[in-house]
Symmetry: C2
Subunit: 178 residues, 2 copies
Amino acid sequence: MALTMFDAVFPSVLRTLGSLDAILDKATAFCEARKIEPTVLLQYRLAPDMFALTRQFQIVTDQAKGMASRLAGVDVPAYADTESTIPEVKARIAKTRDYLKTFSASQIDGSEDRKISLKLGGNEMTFTGRDYVFGFVLPNFYFHAATAYDILRHAGVELSKRDFLGAVDGFTPPQARS
Amino acid sequence: MALTMFDAVFPSVLRTLGSLDAILDKATAFCEARKIEPTVLLQYRLAPDMFALTRQFQIVTDQAKGMASRLAGVDVPAYADTESTIPEVKARIAKTRDYLKTFSASQIDGSEDRKISLKLGGNEMTFTGRDYVFGFVLPNFYFHAATAYDILRHAGVELSKRDFLGAVDGFTPPQARS
């Protein structure tokens, strides 16, 4: 069965979004156990000029909804970027997962040669669907997903890479250091 | 032109390896300017039970060489994991890039349905080539690449996401916070 755009990215992106949702449950439990105000965690960052945790989740979901929309050739839904609590961040992830699940393989497959244009920092970028997904979306998506994980690990939340990877093809990888 | 395994992953993985090599040059300059012993940076980590910087680079390159080898059905070359200086880590990245460049598209294409088995933590995992690459290799590869970046950013090295993404399809993305 030939490789298709849908199969290459939708399952893994959806799974990582699910992992991030579960990671936020652990972050919530951590805040409760340690009597930490969740807002402090959401504003935590690895360096003063890096984005805080909330923004990492916003960008991860932006990459996912942008990918699905642009590959299918439909408008990208706008999100307000107003999340200030963990349940609100979780709701954004849930909304994004639900949105991705509305796409069928037939809307996505063949998009490897679709011309994709987006504005970034005032510059218009034009990609093929292939370069957009594999050279732009996935590096960005995983960069911000991993940085969200790293911020929480640095803050003391007990996570392992298993939490990040989730169940791989029905198999849950063994506990591993990251 | 239909999507192929080679086009989906080789260019972006090679580009990220190049980005990491350039990031290490900035880390070297940072150490010189700040009179920091590079070994301290290589042993830096975000939490006491997370891997140090050197290990992040080792895993990134392991994922890349493992991917190329397994998709092509050849033995995975063993690396000694003895790097203790930045030039040695850079040499490992260079060796991995050179190795990936020995593969032609014809060795990789069609591997989406190849059965891939690997041992992880004593468990045998079996994937299709598709699930192995998109559900295991890329999440791991970018996870450790981003964590390497995050460790260096946390240590004070001046980097931006542009350093991580590298040039996208000939276009270098504008400076952006991460």
